[in-house]
């Protein structure tokens, strides 16, 4: 992945191969086709990824959970916030396959709606964290002068007590943000921003380490010797080569973000009550878990299953991206 020249496209090798043909005469027009289609890096990664059984199972389940929360509401069209007080606390039935809650809202519809929010929070927070992390990592690895201050900053963030601070931020800024953006969107921005701003440090450290190693490589020297400016150097040569650790960190970041969001919701500091997320559903159901245990178990299972799948995918990606393991 560090070298753009593939052995198959190497003109010297191709010439040698032609010379070794039994006829001794080179065939008329057979220019060595660069068969990038079959040997591209991502195809290799995918092949290795497929051989990781846990990761494949994880991917399949994760995709079906995403389908469940995105396509599901189109098929199961009951409004998750519709209050049907006469049908409250009903068990499993045809009208409500997973029953209803204490206000008669359909649990299946609420699980789908809650999943949309939980997964959206996970993805967005991960994107923010990865963006900050790679920005800090690449700049501190690439520009020597910025290295020390940026790494001090990273260590500082690592020394922050994160969960208490998250609780603090969410409680303190809940009101002003919900007034500006509306209750749902305001809390979404707040939670996503807070999680993103407090979970970029690992990614930054990993990326910095990789960039420091990359800087010593010949192709960087070559690119510099023809006068490549810094921004193109970073975008064209450095970033593509640190993509694999970033992707692994991103996958694992989704898992932590989903857990953090549901933990906040569980502590009663997440989204407002009429706005279901998996953590919120679990929190609402805890009061009545003695009578209706499945209301706790379904959202909890979905959270755990999603996180488990994402963790397995991350594991598989890490193995697949590592060229030392890929050959095996």
């Amino acid at each position: 992945m560090t070298d753009t020249t593939r052995p198959d496209t190497d003109p010297l090798r191709a010439a040698a191969g032609n010379a070794a043909t039994p006829e001794g005469i080179s065939p008329p027009v057979v220019p060595p086709q660069p068969d990038d289609v079959t040997r591209s890096q991502w195809r290799d990664v995918w092949r290795q990824f497929r051989s990781h059984r846990g990761a494949m199972v994880g991917l399949v389940i994760f995709v079906s959970i995403i389908l469940f929360v995105s396509v599901g509401p189109l098929i199961w069209t009951i409004d998750p916030t519709y209050v049907d007080i006469r049908a409250r606390n009903s068990g499993f039935s045809l009208a409500h396959p997973l029953g209803t809650d204490q206000l008669g809202r359909d649990l299946l519809a609420r699980l789908m709606a809650g999943g949309q929010v939980s997964i959206a929070v996970g993805l967005t927070a991960m994107i923010i964290a990865i963006f900050i992390g790679s920005l800090v990592g690449v700049t501190s690895g690439y520009f020597r002068r910025l290295d020390a201050p940026l790494m001090r900053l990273t260590e500082l963030f690592l020394a922050l007590p994160l969960l208490p601070l998250l609780l603090l931020m969410v409680t303190l800024f809940r009101e002003p943000l919900s007034q500006t953006f509306g209750p749902a969107l305001g809390i979404f921005f707040l939670i996503v921003g807070a999680i993103g701003a407090t979970s970029w440090m690992q990614a930054a450290r990993i990326v910095r380490g990789d960039v420091l190693g990359l800087k010593e490589r010949e192709f960087i020297l070559a690119a510099r010797s023809i006068g490549t400016p810094s921004h193109r150097m970073i975008l064209r040569h450095v970033l593509p080569n640190v993509l694999s650790p970033i992707m692994v960190a991103a996958t694992l970041g989704i898992a932590t973000a989903i857990i953090t969001e549901s933990a906040l919701s569980f502590l009663g500091l997440g989204f407002p009550p009429d706005f279901p997320t998996w953590g919120r559903l679990l929190y609402d159901a805890v009061d009545q878990m003695v009578l209706y245990p499945w209301r706790v178990i379904f959202p909890g299972l979905l959270i755990s299953l999603t996180v488990l799948c994402v963790n397995y995918i991350g594991d598989g990606l890490r193995d697949a991206m590592d060229p030392r393991i890929r050959g095996r």
Partner: protein, 335 residues
């Protein structure tokens, strides 16, 4: 080594000062008003006097420096007074909680034992489970034991503690009625019966946290063992004719414990702060519960002090982990 320690200690001071400033400013920027619960019938001038009495009248830099002085000067003086019966801190104002009107550190001292017994115990249990599992699954890599161990530890850190806790409550407290679901902190251990009761109420919170900790530590242990098992010195030890037991448990284990010990040290601050959720599930009124109630009650001194104590713990244990690494592994040189 000494040089390194001193340098790191000196570096820790500005770090901690900055963190305390960040927490302070975050609280300062908050719209929450500690006087929000005061009835509206109280006239404005009285309300203003109440603000003054809470020490909220001064601009924030003065209040910040005052808090620093209270934290780093008045409180230690008070502790020495308590220990030696001296009277250095006479007439000095300690950090007072807005909610309970008692010194913040006294409240923390009341809550600390609960957190330490439950969470500390779970950490010890977690380590004791994790290390043998890590050793065995590395020694028999890809065996069924390893596969199951990896799967269970994957589940262990994928399941959030609030879910495992609630499931355990449903199974063991509601359906089987083996253990109480609420942790009774007023229970005093005086005789065998109350000790049994204490043990029974500790089983579930300890299990939840121990499972979570063991999942992480056992993965570290396994990969560290795997790194070492492939080393040349292991082959040499086997070639010398040492028994497998000595090779694994003496040579490999000692070397693989080095990174694991630092991971354990790094995880210790979480013992104090990170178990907030588990404490909430089982209604243990420890430090985490104290923090949450203080946040809800706009109790600024309490939140500030508690969060800052967590930050100190993180910085101190990171330093300890680094030093331990250098002490245990002579190949690591910090100079």
């Amino acid at each position: 080594m000494l040089n390194f320690t001193i340098r790191r200690l000196l570096l820790a001071i500005p770090t901690l000062l900055f963190i305390s400033l960040v927490i302070f400013l975050l609280l300062e920027a908050s719209p929450g008003d500690p006087l929000a619960d005061v009835p509206l019938t109280v006239p404005p001038e009285v309300r203003e006097r109440m603000r003054e009495a809470l020490g909220l009248g001064d601009p924030w830099p003065i209040r910040y420096v005052l808090w620093l002085k209270q934290f780093f000067w008045v409180e230690p003086l008070h502790w020495t007074d308590q220990l030696f019966g001296t009277s250095f801190s006479e007439g000095m104002q300690r950090i007072i909680s807005f909610q309970s009107r008692s010194p913040v550190f006294d409240v923390i001292a009341q809550r600390l034992p609960q957190t330490l017994t439950v969470v500390g115990m779970s950490y010890v249990v977690g380590i004791l489970i994790a290390i043998p599992i890590g050793i065995l699954s590395a020694y028999r890599q890809y065996s069924w034991f390893d596969q199951i161990g990896t799967f269970v530890s994957m589940i262990g850190f994928s399941m959030p503690t609030f879910f495992t806790g609630v499931v355990l409550i449903i199974i063991f407290a509601v359906n089987l009625q083996w253990f109480p679901s609420v942790y009774d902190t007023t229970l005093e251990v005086t005789d065998w019966d109350s000790f049994l009761q204490q043990a029974r109420q500790m089983v579930m919170p300890v299990t939840v946290l121990a499972l979570y900790n063991a999942a992480q530590i056992s993965r570290f242990m396994r990969s560290s063992m795997l790194d070492n098992l492939g080393q040349d010195y292991v082959r040499t030890a086997r070639a010398k004719g040492l028994s497998e037991r000595v090779v694994v448990l003496k040579h490999v284990l000692r070397n693989s414990l080095i990174p694991v010990v630092t991971v354990i040290a790094l995880g210790l601050p979480a013992v104090f702060g990170g178990a907030i959720i588990t404490e909430q599930v089982f209604k243990v009124n420890g430090l985490g519960q104290l923090l949450i109630s203080a946040i809800h009650g706009n109790d600024i001194p309490m939140v500030l002090t508690l969060t800052f104590i967590f930050a100190i713990l993180i910085v101190v244990f990171t330093l300890i982990a680094d030093i331990l690494y250098g002490v245990l592994d002579p190949r690591i040189r910090y100079d």
